[in-house]
């Protein structure tokens, strides 16, 4: 055998091996989807086989009990508004910190970098006290403010690294044209930041959408539940009722799976960028 066909064979073997591993990766999803449409007794007797009949009423019941539209809406509002405000305020701060290299800004930046290693669990207890003192508990705007606080360090850090690479000449030209500093930022700098906006928004979306602990500490009212909280509450109530739990889980993961498949290119780019800068 010559070397070319030898390496073709080895490539083929690698591909085969990876496909097998990929199928193993998909097995949990197979179990989840297949069993979510079985009746309770069928699911108990054999959970590995394909369903004999499709019990779509499982989904209607799970949809109603978890109040899925409400939970989905809450998750959506929290994720969208946290993201927009976080990206906007972080970009502004990072811009100023790069362009006005004074001692205050240097210290603040060092504080942000240091704060990135603080685990959430090590400040969550006093956080509950602080948020209830200033009246941020049990409200969606209050939760969004919490996400702003926790998200600022990494977001500022990512914008900071990007803005450093933008040449000053572009802004100077705009100043000569008579724009003030706010105008320059909105009209000239903002559009240049598009690639890093994508990175910041992707990373923050995956974090905020899936977060359980922070919203569980801040929100109490059932009508404010996000998808992870609604799922957790649901499991507490219907332990081992898999015919309800599995469709609820499918509903819970579907939005983020669709988001991932649609935005895959940007997510991969965002993670790579975030890792290089981090």
């Amino acid at each position: 055998m010559n070397t070319a066909s030898k390496s073709r064979v080895s490539t083929l073997l690698i591909e085969l091996l990876l496909i097998i591993v990929a199928l193993l990766f998909l097995v949990p999803f197979y179990f989840l989807f297949v069993n979510s449409v079985k009746t309770f007794s069928e699911l108990l007797t054999n959970s590995a086989s394909l369903p004999t009949s499709f019990e779509w009423s499982n989904y209607t019941r799970a949809w109603n009990i978890t109040k899925f539209p409400t939970a989905f809406g809450n998750s959506l509002i929290i994720t969208v508004f946290s993201n927009l405000l976080l990206a906007f305020f972080s970009a502004m701060a990072a811009y100023q910190m790069v362009r006005r290299d004074i001692r205050f800004n240097r210290i603040l930046f060092a504080v942000y970098v240091a704060a990135m290693v603080i685990p959430f669990q090590s400040i969550m207890i006093p956080l509950v006290k602080v948020t209830s003192t200033v009246g941020l508990t049990d409200s969606i705007p209050g939760l969004i403010i919490c996400y702003l606080g926790f998200g600022i360090p990494l977001s500022v850090f990512l914008f900071h690294g990007f803005i450093k690479s933008i040449p000053l000449e572009i802004e100077e030209a705009a100043v000569v044209d008579g724009s003030n500093v706010y105008g320059v930022f909105i009209r000239v700098v903002f559009p240049l930041l598009k690639p890093i906006f994508v990175t910041v928004i992707i990373l923050n979306t995956l974090w905020i959408w899936n977060d359980y602990l922070l919203p569980s500490l801040i929100l109490q009212s059932p009508e404010l539940r996000t998808i992870p909280i609604a799922t957790f509450a649901f499991f507490g109530q219907f332990t081992k009722q898999w015919d309800l739990a599995l469709p609820a889980l499918v509903l819970g993961i579907l939005p983020v799976i669709i988001f991932f498949l649609a935005m895959q290119k940007y997510i991969v780019e965002g993670i790579t960028q975030g890792a290089v800068k981090g």
Partner: protein, 294 residues
Amino acid sequence: MQRKKMSRLIQQTVFVGPSALFFILIVLVPFLLGIYYSFTNWNGVGSSEIKWVGLDNFKQIFMHDTKFRDAFWFTVKFTVLGVVLTNVLGFVLGYLLTKPLKTRNALRTIFFMPNVIGGLLLGFIWQFIFVKGFASVGKATGLSFFSLPWLGTENTAFWAIVIVFVWQTAGYLMVIYISSFNNVPKDILEAAEIDGASRGQVLRSIIIPLVMPAVTVCLFLAISWSFKMFDLNLSLTKGGPFGSTESVAMNIYNEAFANNRLGLGTAKAVIFFAVVAIITSLQVKFTKSKEVEA
């Protein structure tokens, strides 16, 4: 001149002010308060009841709290295994997926997919797999591996969490490794091939040293994910059986919000912070020293 100074101050406030305010209120104030509370007997009733107790909480934790010690030991074991396994898998998948395979893009998608789902939901999904799915596979195939009471014994429950953690995070690290492999200069690889280096030699002497920056990042990410694990722990085992899989994060949570000993909880949180900060900075320093320029 005065006006210029004024407008500069306004500009600084408008640009840096809002983000700094949110950060101070949500992160900095609780962080400093936490250090203060760790020296008190705060039990959540009222602020008037909070008394300074000096190092009592820390003494209690280090001398008497065996559950915290167990949680710590569990977290360390889990971190070591989880970090090594997820990095090895992410590295190997990333390396193989830089080869010209027909199904390359689909495979990358599949390996990454578990990562976009939150740990809480993943834990519930896998609870079903371990309890019902594995059991029926075991019945069908007769393999005893699948018939184990996965979440029922201490040893298997530990491995159950490791398995789900690796399944969830390997794809993320794979993405980072792939971009790093793609950045290895082609001319160096070609030069090595002309010089007659074997594939193993190329991997060992050229590729691995050049992707060390990615290793630094991936180790950092995996260590902080596994050390801070909470959601997956909560939904998959809830710390059981018999508290054997209770992570430090969960121990802190229970101390504060189930036992209402908030002073003791914040003392644990302070220790937790110190350990995470020390481990991650040591790791970054160590792997950074292994990085080379092409």
